[in-house]
């Protein structure tokens, strides 16, 4: 049989989705190499979606051991301590994901993404990063461009979420550029979450916190930072409501389980668009707030830097 054609097995399995995106897109999907660093409720959803869709390979990186926190909203890990036996999250998730679709190679890679060389990242078409600091994200973003030639600017996906609010970032412009845009240059009516996330990021960075390592006690300090940033950017503080910041702080590392499939679903669908070339992925930030139910797309790029 012609190697370029889908096998009968693939045609049968992917029948319903081929009806959505066509055979050619399916073939491109089956050649794509994906890297996911950081396994939480959302990225696990993403992994499931992308494995079901039939990508070529999926590589997982997360050396953490199973903890109560790591288990929340994670349906890939059985609640059975006997199977853990010192294995990392990536190894455990890898096992379950293989079952989802035997035609996809799922691998677990040890190590820290921040230390990865360009050569390693070069192998991947899409890199999904979560649960690391802004600094790491920006660094990865800097290393990645060469690996993603075919995807027209889609360099990296960074995502982060907390308490039903979430940020999913598709950086057509470099991530660093997109978040350093002077606030007055932003389009009108940018989601308040954009500002809130910048404040929180800045706070985490200055305090040396891990992502999500926050609590209600940080509120005064965060509000102080808000004032500084707003003053510096000449933005009215009402654009970054205290209640919103408070919600993010209170949630800390907690995930609101129903939000994970929503965010993981959108991330999956946008990555599929990017790989398959069928449709443009959204550009370039996505915010979802479970409180009002709005899923908003923000195109945030600095005209001067593009």
């Amino acid at each position: 049989m012609d190697g370029e054609e889908l096998t009968a097995q693939e045609t049968a399995l992917y029948d319903r989705q081929i009806r959505v995106w066509g055979v050619d897109a399916q073939k491109r999907l089956s050649k794509a190499q994906i890297l996911v660093s950081g396994l939480n409720g959302t990225s696990v959803e993403f992994c499931k979606n992308i494995v079901l869709a039939g990508v070529g390979s999926l590589t997982l990186m997360d050396d953490r051991l199973v903890t109560e926190d790591a288990l929340q909203a994670n349906f890939l890990i059985p609640r059975d301590e006997t199977v853990y036996s010192g294995r990392s999250l990536s190894e455990l998730c890898c096992e379950s994901l293989r079952d989802f679709n035997p035609m996809v190679r799922v691998l677990a890679e040890k190590g820290d993404l921040a230390q990865c060389e360009i050569d390693f990242l070069d192998k991947f078409d899409v890199v999904v990063v979560t649960g690391c600091s802004l600094k790491t994200k920006i660094e990865i973003n800097e290393k990645c461009p060469c690996s993603t030639v075919s995807f027209d600017g889609l360099q990296m996906l960074a995502l982060k979420k907390s308490d039903g609010t979430a940020e999913c970032h598709l950086s057509y412009p470099r991530l660093e550029d997109a978040i350093l845009i002077p606030w007055r240059n932003l389009p009108r009516k940018v989601s308040k979450l954009y500002f809130a996330m910048r404040v929180i990021e800045k706070f985490e960075l200055s305090e040396g916190r891990n992502p999500g390592e926050l609590s209600n006690f940080d509120l005064p300090a965060v509000l102080k930072l808000r004032k500084e940033l707003c003053d510096a950017q000449s933005l009215n503080e009402s654009h970054v409501p205290e209640t919103l910041l408070e919600r993010i702080l209170v949630a800390g590392p907690m995930l609101y389980p129903p939000v994970c499939p929503i965010l993981g679903g959108i991330l999956g669908q946008e990555v599929i668009k990017a790989i398959s070339g069928k449709g443009d992925p959204l550009k370039n930030f996505f915010y979802f707030d479970a409180a009002d139910g709005k899923g908003v797309i923000e195109d945030i790029s600095n005209p001067s830097s593009i």
């Binding site: 049989m1 054609e5 009968a8 045609t11 049968a12 399995l13 992917y14 029948d15 319903r16 989705q17 009806r19 959505v20 995106w21 066509g22 055979v23 409720g41 959803e45 499931k48 979606n49 079901l52 869709a53 039939g54 909203a73 994670n74 349906f75 890939l76 890990i77 059985p78 609640r79 059975d80 079952d99 989802f100 679709n101 035997p102 389980p257 129903p258 939000v259 994970c260 499939p261 929503i262 679903g265 959108i266 999956g268 669908q269 599929i272 668009k273 069928k278 449709g279 959204l282 996505f286 979802f288 479970a290 009002d292 139910g293 709005k294 899923g295 908003v296 797309i297 923000e298 195109d299």
Partner: protein, 891 residues
């Protein structure tokens, strides 16, 4: 937490019902009194208490039904016992009157031992009726002799007894009137719902069980129990308010919530997982399907090794692996089974739909309305999806917006004048395939093509395969007959082709040289590998289902498939129905449709495309289902917290102008003309002199109103009902009625007649005013009857009237493989939120195709039920009054 634990209550309840049944049948006929929602009980009670009299107080229709043995003598008494709907919560004072039958007017009922039973609103009326009867007895000796009231039968009287006078005081007032001695007891029996008939099902899990007093308890004990239960219910209601303020408590609240999921497919798998991760502890799941290979790309709880097993059960096991501590109760059954009745639904706090067809959605909607359980409805197709919330009294119901019922094709389009590929598919699947491999006795219009009586040859003979007839020969004969001879015959009818392209008859000798046909004669060669499904494609040497085959290839596949069916699957012949997962059947239908298409000058399609059309396959991906499942859970949590103000309908659809990908919209108010959730009568235009009762039942009652177990009354006369417990003579009588034209029915249906149509299982009743009409447009109104009155609300019509944008959006969505892309076009139409909802009334399977039309056209059983390819997608197609309105506006 229960006052009566289920384990002890079940035997009690059973024995009480049993004893009551026995007494009813053999000794003491009973008088049953049933409330508004007690209609479903009729069937059960009447079948078990053949000697008994049943009185049903029908609150809305202001009348009393008396059902005699077997219900065939169901008669309506014009007593003003019922109250207008809006007044039913008020104290009806002395308005309840005793039905004449009890008053001695019907001698056969005279003096019978009776009790009064009821449920729901009957909680309000039972005591009143009882006390009226007792007062009457006290006043008149005749009445005392006529009515032998032995007690009241407390079934589920609690629900609406919270009028100005509580049930307790009404009951206690009875004590003064009843001439009971201390030895007498009020008979408090348990439910009359159908537990006995379906004892395998866990009906007794019903929360109503708590409310049942054990049989023969004293009145005082009963009252005590009842008050205790009321109090607990009330405190639970207050609890809702509290938890909404207390984040921690939400989790405990969720754990207590009892959730029913209908459907364990694409949305269902995602939903079950998300519910489990979100902390839900008690989930029941109904799905009748088994797992197919094509499910595995998105229904991630299933594996290759599960193919063929029950979806509901496998989904349960899979989720328990990562969430072992929760309770998931699977039912491998159809949600339309009578067992899943209103009582079953009442036990849940919320119902979540992940269904793939309109029929089941409507059914669940009705049960949720009757049981007053909030419903969260969802659907996806491709990258589009939506979640809607339906709460009785607060939002519209699922059917407030008329849904497109499958469009019907005129028979002649299919049989003689196809103009689209889909017509050829319908012909190949529902006529040819059914004729060759299906039930031979079924009516089949395959040969109408000759038309006008010129059909002199009896074609059935052709399809009989002679005992010594070689398969090769037989195949050639069929081929030449259906693609050659039949077309020639049709061509003879010049009238048909005046304004149409004339088809070319196709004979095998012209398509395939003799030797080629005989070449692949080695039948056995194929079957060395038993594992592989039979495939004509592979034995002919074609492999890519995406390719469009030539006429010659199609012809080879046609012959090969026919041969394989008769050679290898002979046992199934006569019982086969088309199945999209049957490779050989899909190949046969594809090739036959393509040969016919080339005869009629219609472009040919690949197997992949043909399969989509014939199997009515809808695009589905995992990501959209996951997103939708998350949104469902968010709404479900709001509903459970009684946070109704914040409930939203959410569309998953890219809307660039608003920068939205997930778009929440406030739920709409109920449509006042909705026949399902309001009581507005419908209007039927029909030729009462030519249409039969069967036409009415099939085309209107089943197809349009979506009823499964209808009961039709003309005034006080029962003219038809469906049920498996009918007595023979009754059933025979109904069968006779079915073939009568409407004016000739025992109770003639003419212009001005009002019909009452009820579905006992769905607890839905609606009235239809009949209007005689002589002429119908064969193309536009192939049903030859038109149902009016179920119109969309004003705001909707305005949107719909925006004809251009609507069709643009829809055709865009149809043609696009990448739907979200094209949906942008659609989304740019401002103010189209209502329209969006229609477009997005899409579902994972069947329904979407009805909406998106085109190549996904729907067809399951009825050959003429197909969506037309380029039909304007105005949902109201079947409701000409509205269409007229639109046209006017466009002008």
């Amino acid at each position: 937490m229960e006052a009566v634990s289920p384990s002890t209550a079940v035997p009690d309840a059973l024995s009480s019902v049993t004893s009551l049944r026995q007494s009813a049948v053999t000794v003491a006929p009973s008088l049953f009194f049933s409330g508004l929602t007690g209609v479903s009980e009729h069937r059960f009670i009447s079948s078990y208490s053949l000697q008994s009299i049943m009185v049903s107080l029908h609150v809305c229709s202001a009348g009393v039904f008396v059902a005699g043995p077997g219900r065939r003598r169901l008669l309506v008494l014009e007593h003003d016992v019922g109250l207008p709907q809006e007044r039913r919560r008020e104290d009806s004072g002395g308005r309840v009157r005793v039905p004449a039958e009890l008053d001695g007017e019907v001698p056969e009922f005279k003096g019978r031992e009776s009790s009064i039973a009821g449920e729901s609103y009957a909680g309000h009326y039972v005591p009143q009726l009882a006390s009226t009867i007792l007062r009457l007895k006290n006043r008149s000796a005749a009445a005392a002799a006529a009515i032998n009231l032995k007690g009241i039968n407390r079934d589920k009287l609690t629900r609406d007894s919270m009028g100005s006078k509580p049930f307790t005081s009404l009951v206690s007032s009875l004590f003064y009137l009843f001439p009971w001695k201390s030895s007498r007891r009020i008979v408090f029996a348990s439910s009359f719902s159908p537990p006995l008939r379906h004892s395998s099902r866990p009906y007794f899990q019903s929360s109503n069980l708590l409310l049942f007093a054990p049989p023969f308890v004293s009145a005082a004990r009963f009252l005590l129990l009842w008050v205790r239960i009321r109090r607990r219910r009330r405190s639970r209601a207050f609890g809702v308010q509290r938890v909404s303020e207390d984040k921690e408590a939400i989790f405990t609240w969720l754990q207590r919530a009892k959730v029913l999921m209908v459907g364990a497919g694409g949305i269902g798998c995602e939903l079950l997982k998300t519910l489990a991760l979100s902390g839900f502890q008690d989930v029941h799941i109904i799905d009748m399907d088994t797992i197919e290979v094509s499910n595995l790309n998105r229904q991630f709880l299933f594996r290759q090794s599960h193919v063929g097993q029950s979806k509901a059960k496998v989904a349960r096991d899979a989720v328990l692996k990562f969430m072992p501590q929760i309770n998931i109760t699977p039912y491998h059954a159809n949600v339309k089974d009578p067992g899943f009745n209103v009582d079953f639904f009442k036990q849940f706090n919320v119902v979540l739909n992940g269904l793939d067809n309109l029929d089941a959605r409507r059914h669940v909607n009705r049960l949720c309305l009757a049981a007053e359980v909030p419903l969260i409805e969802s659907g996806t197709t491709g990258f589009l999806g939506q979640v809607t919330v339906h709460i009785k009294g607060r939002t519209e119901c699922y059917e407030c917006q008329p849904k497109p019922t499958p469009k019907t094709y005129p028979v002649c389009t299919i049989t003689s004048t196809p103009s689209k590929f889909v017509h050829c598919i319908v012909w190949a699947k529902d006529l040819l395939f059914a004729k060759l491999f299906g039930d031979k006795n079924q009516e089949n219009d395959l040969f109408v093509s000759a038309g006008d009586g010129s059909d002199s040859v009896k074609p059935t003979d052709i399809f009989e395969r002679g005992s010594d007839e070689d398969l090769e020969q037989y195949g050639r004969k069929i081929y030449d007959h259906v693609f050659g001879y039949n077309i020639e015959v049709a061509l003879a009818n010049e009238e048909t082709w005046k304004s149409r392209r004339r088809p070319n008859p196709i004979f095998l000798k012209d398509v395939l040289p003799e030797r080629l046909i005989l070449q692949n004669g080695n039948l056995e060669k194929n079957f060395l590998t038993e594992d592989l499904p039979l495939s004509a494609m592979s034995s002919v040497g074609l492999s890519n289902p995406q390719d469009v085959w030539s006429l010659a290839d199609n012809s080879r596949i046609f012959l090969e498939a026919l041969r394989l069916f008769f050679g290898r699957r002979e046992k199934e012949i006569g019982n086969l129905t088309f199945d999209k997962d049957d490779q050989l059947a899909v190949e046969f239908v594809t090739s036959a449709a393509n040969i016919r298409a080339s005869s009629f000058g219609i472009s040919l399609h690949s197997l992949f495309d043909a399969k989509g059309i014939a199997g009515n396959i809808v695009h589905a991906v995992a990501t959209t289902n996951a997103i939708i499942a998350g949104l469902i859970v968010i709404e479900a949590i709001k509903v459970l917290q009684a946070d109704f103000q914040n409930c939203r309908m959410t569309y998953c659809l890219e809307h660039p102008a608003r920068k939205m990908l997930l778009m929440p919209v406030e739920p709409f108010e109920a449509n006042k003309s909705c026949y399902v959730c309001s009581e507005t009568p419908l209007l039927l235009e029909v030729n009462t002199r030519t249409s039969t009762l069967r036409d009415f039942v099939d085309k209107i009652v089943k197809n349009k109103l979506g009823m499964s177990f209808p009961l039709i009354m003309q005034g006080a006369t029962l003219i038809f009902e469906v049920g498996d417990d009918l007595e023979e003579d009754v059933a025979a009588n109904y069968a006779l009625n079915l073939d009568k034209v409407l004016v000739e029915l025992p109770a003639p249906v003419t212009s001005g007649t009002m019909l009452t149509v009820e579905d006992l299982q769905q607890e839905l009743s609606c009235h239809i005013n009949v209007k005689h009409r002589e002429e119908f447009d064969e193309d536009k109104e192939p049903d030859k009857m038109v149902l009016l009155g179920w119109t969309a609300p004003e705001k909707k019509s305005q949107v719909v009237s925006n004809g251009n944008s609507t069709s643009a959006a829809v055709s865009a969505a149809t043609e696009a493989t990448m739907k979200s892309e094209e949906a942008k076009v659609n989304a740019e139409i401002s103010g189209t939120k209502r329209k969006l909802s229609e477009i997005l009334e899409a579902t994972e399977n069947q329904e979407a195709s009805q909406i998106f039309s085109g190549p996904d056209a729907d067809n399951f059983k009825n050959p003429q039920e197909l969506e037309d390819g380029d039909d304007d997608l105005v949902v109201l197609d079947n409701y000409p009054e509205t269409s007229k309105k639109q046209r006017l506006r466009q002008v």
